[in-house]
Symmetry: C2
Amino acid sequence: MSTSSRFAVAVHVLTLMAWADDEPLKSEQVAESVNTNPVVIRRMLCELAEAKLVVSQSGAMGGSKLAREPKEITLLDIYQAVENRGVFSLHRHPPNRHCPVGVNIGTVLNQVLDEVDTAVERVLANITIRDVVSRLRPCVGSTVTRRKQTAKEQVLAVRN
Amino acid sequence: MSTSSRFAVAVHVLTLMAWADDEPLKSEQVAESVNTNPVVIRRMLCELAEAKLVVSQSGAMGGSKLAREPKEITLLDIYQAVENRGVFSLHRHPPNRHCPVGVNIGTVLNQVLDEVDTAVERVLANITIRDVVSRLRPCVGSTVTRRKQTAKEQVLAVRN
DNA sequence: GCAACTGTAACTATATTTGTTACAGACGAA
DNA sequence: TTCGTCTGTAACAAATATAGTTACAGTTGC
């Protein structure tokens, strides 16, 4: 199955931006939270920008932020932006066309895989980044010491 | 996503056996229909045998056949037998525990991924190998010349 | 005993994803 | 206008996963 963590990372990135509340985040800050290389993040941000989920600004004081409200971004949007293939794959090499099963199994499998993809998409379409953030908050109270500190400060204080 | 074709191949294999109707198939025959190496098939057959979906017999005149009726084998059974991971993966390296988002995003993502997996499983649980075979038959009439020939003969005639 | 199979180990090959270095170009501020 | 700070992107290395191959021990029917 998904051997890639692209979807998980993308959700993480957009969640950070929702948390940071319109303050542009630098790729290095994001990378530090995700625990990867800034270039990996920038690559992903390009895809997310193409899908119009984030906007980025070059140059000093630049960074990236959400292109629209967290409640207007679904996990399906993210999924479609960063994950090109469906959930399953067909045979690497096409089956034997001289076998009555081999010649048609692809058609049937595609029907099944479509049903699966549709089911996945239905789930993802019903979850927004706002939902993710709100599911996140309950955990935060118990793990992070609470003082007068904005969410943005918390995100930016990653290296402490 | 699933970069692997294991599920597709496994469905193909069990469909062949349902088609062959209790006649044991040799790994080489199956490999020829799937268009791969017999050892790849034997490896998969071992997993399917562990999951009690097929039974194999060593030695001359050996081979593998379904362990139970096609209508009693769901695609979910197959999925669980050959595909160990869920649909999506989390981060390769765990996120930064000092970030309020990073420390808890895993929990939220796991909830989401569970919802997705559940949706996938619900779809697969409702499709049996018998369904696959019956979806296959309509195609066969139009692509394979019909004469007095049993399904088993057709499968075995792969190399013609 | 022999020929025909499976089960399995040990590789190699291939593909995909992730991580890294390097640098051109955008941009704000002094 | 120059400088330091960012993004965008190319080019490549490393890590991982999947698929394919060869080889052979062990089973089984004849």
